[in-house]
């Protein structure tokens, strides 16, 4: 079954604005990851946040994790046209198989 669900499905903003994407998941996890997919390309790992972390930063990216609400958010600050892509959250399978379960992604369009 699908673990992560992103919200919104699509987001369109102007360059310079901040973009916030949310992810909800169903079962207990020990970490959550965010990936980016440019059009016609493979997914690229952005950031991993562990279950004992509440917030993590990487450049213009800020990820939060609320295990009580089973949700995470990805904030991209001062967005650029080059940030236009789809963003996916991924959580480990509960069976500890190493499998990651991906949500359907948020498609972000940043208009120049």
């Amino acid at each position: 079954s699908q673990q992560g669900e992103e919200d919104p499905q699509a987001l369109s903003i102007q360059e310079g604005e901040n973009a916030t994407m949310n992810c909800s998941y169903k079962t207990s996890i020990n970490n959550l990851q965010w990936y980016r997919q440019n059009s016609g390309r493979g997914l690229v790992h952005l950031i991993l946040i562990r279950s004992n972390e509440r917030e993590k930063h990487s450049g213009r990216l800020r990820v939060t994790l609320d295990t009580s609400k089973k949700s995470s958010s990805l904030l991209i600050t001062a967005s650029r046209a080059a940030d236009t892509a789809s963003y996916f959250c991924a959580t480990p399978d509960s069976g500890n198989t190493g499998k990651l379960i991906f949500g359907q992604g948020t498609t972000l369009q940043v208009k120049p």
């Binding site: 970490n31 990851q33 493979g42 991993l48 562990r50 190493g98 990651l100 498609t107």
Partner: protein, 114 residues
């Protein structure tokens, strides 16, 4: 250097044909995967191999057969292709560490069955 490379990138073929997609990773990872991404961008795992051994086999038709000659390669062979097989297939690899399981993806193979 490309970390996870898969070929071909584009493949258009007729129903009923058999085709293969090859994948190689030079990251030294023990685990390799095949994922399928549909037209709605939903990404679903198909198979996982660890050191050439099948670990995960999701509910995938028998027409799909992965083959791992060594831990750096995981090829996907598809028999009797159907229209519904049209999708993007991603090969990926990962190494387990204490923080989690970061996956490195190939660029994808766009399969169109006509």
């Amino acid at each position: 250097d490309t970390a996870v490379s898969q070929t071909p990138k584009y493949l258009v073929t007729q129903m009923g044909n058999d085709k293969s997609i090859k994948c190689e990773q030079n990251l030294g990872h023990d685990t390799m995967y095949w994922y399928k991404q549909d037209s709605k961008k939903f990404l679903k795992i198909m198979f996982s191999y660890n050191n050439k051994e099948l670990i995960i086999n999701e509910t995938v038709p028998n027409r799909f057969s992965p083959k791992s000659p060594d831990k750096a390669h995981l090829n996907l062979h598809i028999n009797s292709l159907e229209l519904g097989d049209s999708a993007v297939y991603f090969c990926a690899s990962s190494a387990r560490d204490r923080t989690g399981n970061t996956i490195y993806f190939g660029e994808g193979s766009w399969l169109t069955v006509v």
